[in-house]
Symmetry: D2
Subunit: 147 residues, 4 copies
């Protein structure tokens, strides 16, 4: 599990004064960039140098408690599924000040050749990093869906 | 079904030169604002005047084809579930130039008193509008999940 | 002068419940994209096809009245300076409901070869469009600066 | 002078693959939030608790070198003018990897009662912090403008 503290920015909230629901995906991506920081050159070198990216094919987000400006989210990133060319991240986003879960996301990505925009075998260093944080989930809520 | 043509903006793409995955939720919200335009004062009056909002409790997004700057998405919004205080929107986002489905989202919202941040009965005009575009989905893929 | 009506979106406001100051530059870019719509393929073809862009070298923004969610800005775009490889746009952003000027921006861009990221001669169709909307400014406030 | 290291995020670039010009204002605001971190409760408490904000009345930005994904900006924030109810920040944004100045912004704000949206006397703790980082500028480029 890789952890990231993410303070809410002034512009992250919407006209209802809580963090806009789309921004949790921006936070997820920031957490994924942090996750891949140990790669040589980080995620940027993967994208810009090796021209391999990890576009999303599926996202599920459950929102359970609002977050406001001035608060901080602690984002715990782990890998709940690792396939040949795909992986699913789980991000648990917890309010730092009271430990309440604000949102939980699952984000499935496919290793992709950005020149061709076609899937490509997962590079070994990417796989190694994903494996190191693999925490497969048990059946419960997700069971019907994965069967 | 309510339709919205949404040209991709210069800033909507990311470092992989395709529309950033989080932006599809921004598009979804724009489509929802358009959906509620027939309300008196639109969605803004609901939020700012009546202080009732529709925060997300769940989002599912399936991404099937990338979109680029210079292209336009046609967003078809309908309601696939209508509960007492909740509703689920479906947004089919189709590339206007070739008719290819780029993304499909399901977005469940709860009518919420923005002062208390607690759920509140669904106002009648909101319900009427949702009902007018209700297109319940058959079982298939979603079956296990809803059971 | 080219005009664009731009409704304020739910996510455009900040924690002070008014449109975030940076967003006016996003609006300016949208207005510039609209300005160049008459080009063949629009601004996107210029960028992606011909690989010529118009990066900013200078922006000045004066903010005179706040705008809120639910309001609409009318953005009036004109060209106040046209050089060999540069141009300065002026955007007057007026609240549609009361005619009050909310912000006025000046935005100087340079025609740029995006492969080399070096300035390049201004294409003739770009120049023609800029010329058609050229409204040079008189001296007043800007005098000392431009002398 | 207060310094902030700001890595460029995946989504910060635009269709020309360089950081979008509007985002430098987002960075400036982040730097201002960092600047005010020593206030009790930070900038958020000022906004949400005391209901005093610092809306922009003027911004000037000079863009001198592009920044890309994978790079980091070092943002040096200082105060170049301090008035009774206003202050002007200067942000020098330097590319961390080569020390090249990417952008320089001046950002004038007015202490504002957010309930009334009217200017209000500057709180003493805000003034003290601004004074501590006051570095008035000499005449040159700005001369004509300020006369």
């Amino acid at each position: 599990m890789v952890s990231l503290e993410r303070p809410i920015k002034f512009e992250d909230v919407d006209a209802a004064s809580i963090v806009f629901f789309a921004r949790f995906l921006n936070y997820a991506h920031e957490a994924m960039e942090r996750f891949f920081a140990p790669l040589e050159g980080g995620y940027a070198a993967l994208i810009l140098g090796r021209r391999i990216g990890l576009p999303a094919v599926r996202v599920e987000a459950e929102y359970s408690a609002p977050v406001r400006y001035g608060e901080t989210l602690r984002i715990e990133t782990s890998v709940v599924h690792l396939g040949r060319r795909s992986a699913t991240f789980r991000y648990r986003m917890v309010r730092a000040h009271d430990g309440v879960l604000s949102a939980e996301l699952r984000h499935t990505v496919v290793t992709t050749d950005l020149e061709q925009l076609a899937s490509t075998p997962m590079p070994e260093d990417v796989r190694a990093l994903l494996s190191a944080h693999l925490e497969p989930e048990q059946a419960p809520a997700s069971a019907g869906r994965r069967a």
